[in-house]
């Protein structure tokens, strides 16, 4: 089944009985004829076999489909300075999150992360024993007074003028001091993944704006997708969210958008009593939260349909009881 390892192709297996059968047929026929132990000779070409909704088997050049990062080639200085005149800000609407986890998977696809590594996470929070539980999507807060940047001994993680906190994985020595300094457990470490440069990045891999590829023995985190932003596109977590939880924009323009709604940032914070998580730490996050008032989903909605293994994470909060 290794032919199906490709994400694009795997997606098309959800088509139901007929589709699966066809795919199985195709695979069997293919592997018999090529005489290889399921090794995908098709990998050599750029074509992808797809099943249409009508159950037809089609072959498509992957360049028409793949999420190709047309990353702008930028210099180290540009990557260090940031996008001129911008000050990025995010507002996360807790009233809309039902833990659909699309932000997580989109981020993983964008950054070629293994499935167990989540730069964006969704926590189930309950601030006090009798408080109401709520879903809490968490990106990097890109603090204006970032404790992680303060402690970096080699200037590998840095704060830009556009507000973003990025990591130069070519510079990071992996001391993990920033991980202990971050009060929000934002940062992850590459404990053992091997370095794989995806084709899209092969031409200019060492750009701190893409955070790809993952360098072994270095620290990684959510980067607000500056490579996308540079092209005027929203970060993938924002566009992937089916509920429009994430609003992203430039605070200098005072506008944030979740892809479908575009609103004044200051108005949104005012109307919805926006706040920053753990304001008292003095880290000055660039991520704001809108309290979960008038929620559009009951909190259980984000729990019931989860796979057992992920449900397990939230057992201490006790939604079951």
């Amino acid at each position: 089944m290794s032919e199906l390892q490709n994400n694009n192709r795997r997606d098309f297996l959800k088509k139901g009985a007929w589709g699966v059968t066809l795919a199985a047929w195709g695979q069997l026929v293919f592997s018999c004829s090529s005489g290889e132990e399921g090794e995908a000779a098709a990998e050599a070409t750029d074509t992808v076999k797809l099943l249409t909704p009508d159950g037809e088997l089609v072959e498509v050049d992957s360049k028409h489909l793949k999420h190709i990062h047309k990353v702008k080639k930028i210099s180290q200085q540009q990557a260090r300075a940031g996008i001129p005149g911008k000050k990025f800000v995010m507002a996360i609407d807790l009233a809309r999150c039902n833990n659909a986890r699309k932000c997580i998977t989109a981020c993983q696809a964008m950054h070629h992360l293994p499935s167990e590594k989540e730069w964006v996470t969704v926590k189930l929070m309950k601030d006090s024993k009798d408080g109401a539980p709520y879903w809490f999507p968490k990106t990097c807060f890109h603090c204006d007074n970032p404790p992680c940047v303060k402690v970096c001994p080699v200037n590998a993680t840095y704060k830009r003028q556009d507000g973003l906190v990025l990591i130069d994985s070519e510079r990071c020595i992996g001391c993990k001091f920033c991980m202990t300094a971050c009060p929000y457990s934002t940062r992850t470490f590459n404990w053992g993944e091997k370095e794989e440069v995806p084709e899209d990045f092969a031409t200019h891999p060492d750009n701190p704006e893409t955070s790809v590829p993952s360098r072994p023995g270095t620290v990684e985190k959510c980067d607000f997708c500056p490579d996308m932003v540079r092209m005027g596109k929203l970060p993938d977590c924002v566009t992937a969210c089916p509920n429009g939880v994430f609003y992203f924009g430039d605070q200098n323009e005072d506008v944030v958008t979740n892809g479908s709604e575009t609103v004044r940032f200051s108005q949104l914070i005012k109307d919805r009593s926006g706040y920053r998580y753990m304001e008292d730490l003095g880290t000055e996050p660039r991520v704001w939260y809108l309290p979960p008032r008038d929620r559009i989903f009951p909190v259980e909605r984000g729990y019931e349909s989860l796979p057992e293994e992920i449900k397990e994470r939230y057992k201490d909060v006790g939604l079951d009881g």
């Binding site: 997606d11 098309f12 959800k14 139901g16 009985a17 007929w18 699966v20 059968t21 199985a24 047929w25 195709g26 069997l28 026929v29 293919f30 018999c32 004829s33 074509t47 076999k49 797809l50 249409t52 909704p53 009508d54 088997l57 089609v58 072959e59 498509v60 050049d61 360049k63 028409h64 489909l65 190709i68 047309k70 300075a81 001129p84 005149g85 911008k86 000050k87 007074n145 970032p146 940047v149 303060k150 200037n155 840095y158 704060k159 003028q161 932003v229 005027g232 596109k233 929203l234 924009g249 430039d250 200098n252 323009e253 005072d254 506008v255 958008t257 892809g259 575009t262 609103v263 004044r264």
Partner: protein, 291 residues
């Protein structure tokens, strides 16, 4: 999934039977599995802008994974039709989002007796994707935008004209261009003179000089398509440009002065001691030689 499993297994068994039967060569069947082309869907739209600029936009999509997904890198041919003939306007290739855009001068487009433009776009199809096309008919329309500035307020007067006649009872909106998507700052319905006035907010940040890119738009009208007009006005609050130099701070590459001083003093004190000691040791050695 149980059904699919049954079918899958029966498929497997069939295959085994076939491959066990003498003389059957599955290998040659690969040709028989020649994939068909993927069906595509085309949608053509237009934006009429200032000075007779007309944008033709063709969105090419295919249904993949139950969602329509834009297809990039496909060539689209745009043309205009009259009663008798068809004029090719140009070609464009779809971008990452699956949109091919061709900008033309509206005056160059042939019209019918009602001054209507019949526009067409077609993707011919290739080995992978089936061809598809779409056509639209639009009437030339434009919006006139007139800024009204008083001491205490800002507003814009919009006039919607089609074939140079005012259009009544249409919703027009006013936007300001922003980084990712435009911000709507107001909307209004045109009166019998085709006019509408929209108050403009006074507290919007602009660029360094306070310039704003304002545009008014009639969205996806059945007769006119999208009609848009843009205007630059210095109506924003100037955003002070960020200084290129990072401050002396704990989080910046530039350390605070006191830190540099403390570091130098401490280092000088300790290494100064070391230097004196090393000097004395050199003396010890020298004296020993003499002695």
């Amino acid at each position: 999934m149980s059904l699919s499993k049954i079918i899958k297994w029966s498929g497997l068994i069939c295959l085994l039977c076939i491959s066990l039967s003498p003389g059957t060569l599955i290998a040659q069947d690969e040709e028989g599995e020649e994939p068909e082309a993927l069906r595509t869907r085309a949608s053509l739209s237009s934006v009429q802008r200032n000075d007779d600029v007309l944008d033709l936009k063709m969105l090419m999509r295919a249904k993949i994974d139950d969602r329509y997904t834009g297809l990039s890198g496909l060539e689209v041919v745009f043309s205009a039709a009259t009663d008798s003939s068809e004029v090719e306007l140009g070609k464009a290739t779809t971008n990452e989002d699956g949109v091919a855009t061709l900008t033309v001068n509206a005056k160059d487009i042939p019209r019918d007796t009602a001054n209507r433009m019949a526009l067409m776009a077609e993707f011919d199809g290739n080995d992978e994707f089936k061809g598809s096309d779409d056509d639209i008919e639009i009437l030339p329309a434009r919006i006139l935008l007139e800024p009204i500035e008083t001491d205490s307020s800002l507003s814009l007067k919009l006039t919607l004209l089609a074939n140079d006649e005012p259009v009544e009872d249409e919703d027009v909106s006013l936007f300001v261009k922003r980084l990712f998507s435009p911000l709507k700052v107001g909307e209004a319905t045109t009166d019998e003179e085709g006019a509408a006035e929209i108050v403009f907010p006074m507290d919007l940040p602009g660029d360094g000089e306070g310039q704003l890119e304002i545009f008014a738009r009639l969205e996806d009208h059945s007769d006119f398509g999208t009609v848009e007009v843009a205007l630059d006005e210095p109506w924003g609050k100037p955003v002070s440009q960020l200084s290129q130099k990072l401050p002396q701070a704990l989080w910046s590459p530039n350390p605070p002065t006191w830190m540099i001083l403390t570091f130098i003093i401490l280092m000088a004190a300790v290494w100064g001691h070391y230097a004196v000691i090393v000097y004395k040791l050199i003396q010890v050695k020298r004296e020993g030689k003499v002695g």
